[in-house]
Symmetry: D2
Subunit: 241 residues, 4 copies
Amino acid sequence: MIKVTVWNEYYHEHESEKVREVYPNGIHSAIAEFLKTDENLLVRTATLYENNLTDELLNDTDVLFWWGHMKHSAVPDELAQKVQERVLHGMGFIALHSAHHSKPFKKLMGTSCNLRWREDDKHERIWNVCPTHPIAKGIDLFFEIDKDEMYGELFDIPKPDDLIFITWHPGGELMRSGCTFRRGNGKIFYFQPGHETYPIFYDKNVQKVLFNAVYWVAPDVIDPEIISCKHPESPEQAYLK
Amino acid sequence: MIKVTVWNEYYHEHESEKVREVYPNGIHSAIAEFLKTDENLLVRTATLYENNLTDELLNDTDVLFWWGHMKHSAVPDELAQKVQERVLHGMGFIALHSAHHSKPFKKLMGTSCNLRWREDDKHERIWNVCPTHPIAKGIDLFFEIDKDEMYGELFDIPKPDDLIFITWHPGGELMRSGCTFRRGNGKIFYFQPGHETYPIFYDKNVQKVLFNAVYWVAPDVIDPEIISCKHPESPEQAYLK
Amino acid sequence: MIKVTVWNEYYHEHESEKVREVYPNGIHSAIAEFLKTDENLLVRTATLYENNLTDELLNDTDVLFWWGHMKHSAVPDELAQKVQERVLHGMGFIALHSAHHSKPFKKLMGTSCNLRWREDDKHERIWNVCPTHPIAKGIDLFFEIDKDEMYGELFDIPKPDDLIFITWHPGGELMRSGCTFRRGNGKIFYFQPGHETYPIFYDKNVQKVLFNAVYWVAPDVIDPEIISCKHPESPEQAYLK
Amino acid sequence: MIKVTVWNEYYHEHESEKVREVYPNGIHSAIAEFLKTDENLLVRTATLYENNLTDELLNDTDVLFWWGHMKHSAVPDELAQKVQERVLHGMGFIALHSAHHSKPFKKLMGTSCNLRWREDDKHERIWNVCPTHPIAKGIDLFFEIDKDEMYGELFDIPKPDDLIFITWHPGGELMRSGCTFRRGNGKIFYFQPGHETYPIFYDKNVQKVLFNAVYWVAPDVIDPEIISCKHPESPEQAYLK
């Protein structure tokens, strides 16, 4: 049983009729819905203004999805820090689309996480450049999404541990769009598709990638001790025979 | 001309006669002294309680050395953030020994940066496992330091871009001890040797490594714009012919 | 069901009474024996002079272990090339100890794979520097082996995709001793312990690492087409809408 | 003084009027010509059928460019092996365009080096995703080439040490097109642009990249000993005090 929590700022869905038509119950609900088809996952949700992440839920979460955009700055610094710490202790973290600029992701990366972007109505083609990675399992050499916002390089992230996907945009841009990072005991996956005005989280390939990602970032164990500064009790004990 | 600033918390040297005997004018002065033998470097120093880093000096610095230990928490958060931002814009950053736990380094890494440690009077052997890296230039397959504190794995850092040195300790530990990281436009080098009670910064091999590191982390240019979120002026312009 | 084949040159066991005492039926048999305790594995063996790898067995193998030492040059070039190709198509490959100099491993790495070595009767301590990697599952921060040959840096390999273990030797050496590499569709794990005169393959930690490695290098699929040069049938077809 | 040798199979230029118009004296001469404008480089050329690489020239070469396509199989295995060995000893190697399938490059990579391709008359846009790398010095966020063959993913190479450029093609493909690899003491750069029917090696950005690459892959020293298997003269000597 993997305990998954899907966090969403849940702002656009209230403000925009157009977004609400695509995601009537919020992006988090759409993601939770397809994840729930897997009986091995216990899926819960949290949103910024309604039931924001409590310590209790965070500390009972194995894998945290994060979708945020306009309200990054409304996320309390203290919460961002707690999320970072739980990742370092082992929680998996999946940052979606505009979460590249979210507080927890930026804290974990240490960089600006800036990128180029442009509102667009264009398709994109997502190339699978690491087909042996578990996150790419069942994904063809590439797949396409009908419409998405353009996100492109230069994407200011640390060198990914594994670069799995690169997105091609018809306007001339491209982006390292599926990236993994280990931080402490935690595993992180960033995935670029997912603009709020398009039904991207209903796409079968996107769902397959996210299922794979849940299983890949899920920890074997979340251990608050494992990365603590272990000081051998006495110098003598530390020595070998 | 590379503008180097050596920052030191400069606390142990005031509190401990033993440390003062080794570094009568502070660790920063010892480092600055050997760096000054290179006419291509403009070397300045700053310390926590006397002449802490001003905006003016930070913004005129190409490469920043950082030595801190007991007083990490006394470094203002605002200063740590300014250092992080300047690194992202291109400033080179060299974190020495106990600076693994300094605020700027931790912000840049995103991890706890914890490690195992033990006070010791033992020698260490530093293996050069990437001899073609510019930072290893002129360094043999290994070199030894007579006495140093023991710093060992598990060192909770992101996977280094290049792992150049691994330190062997006689007590049975080892550590990834010379590591590079690119973050934004900035280059970072962490180097483990350098306990305050031993004359490590007078060691010829250590000095050679640090000279090499200055030249490797030094930026071609420090450009506050280069990683900013560049939004093409109009969608049309972004398209190719 | 994962089909595992354990290849061994099986030379020392015939030539040396000392080796025969440790591995009376050969190193391959000792490895096969503990692997067979896992019902999910179909384990077979092959040796250089008796039942060397046939095309039939190689093409029915998902994961190939390789132990060789004195007789590397007796392995036919043609066989080494077939092993390389099967790895590129997806077969997992686990190179043990002196197999660092085996023909298939060198072909896959492209480097000399040289290292420093010394016959020794000393213990070694194997540090786990990537505890979240599946191959390190269940392994403590370090474990020890009573006696092994000394293998140390400089180990002339490409930068490992993941560096999981580093071995500490009491004589002052260390070595990147547990390394993964993706090549084509295949996954490769090199593991340093395993001198023929010591009962290392009966060690519980070594067995745990090798079990983990089997599951990690095992392919989802072995597809001779997936890395072939795919030329779209016509330029028109290749274009997007 | 860096001793650069430009090797070209020099076949298309003889067979095709169209190619000859672009490169009347061969691709190697075009490359040599612009390199010669740098007085710090000693530039020589070699071609498959006329003055193929002698041992003397190879052993006097610091940086070797390689352009080959139709005649990969005509390169003697022995020569390919000598090139590989010299790279492992420190020679820099720059593989251009269709040299992805050349014998020396494949030996150094250990993979098939296959990719997707299509003859095309289209432009390409080369994105600079590692602007702090010395090979990207002076290169903007992207540059364009008017016409080139399409080379795209999946490009079957080991994970590059640094991924510097990714090429965008208007037909929907992309490719990791500027990649570095360390192998032994040698540094390698693969660069994708350079089809024989287009004047790509006269392009100012391409020339800048190749100049940068020469300086980056150039060795400090070429030392046949440095990666040899160093066996301490006696076990005693190897031990520390």
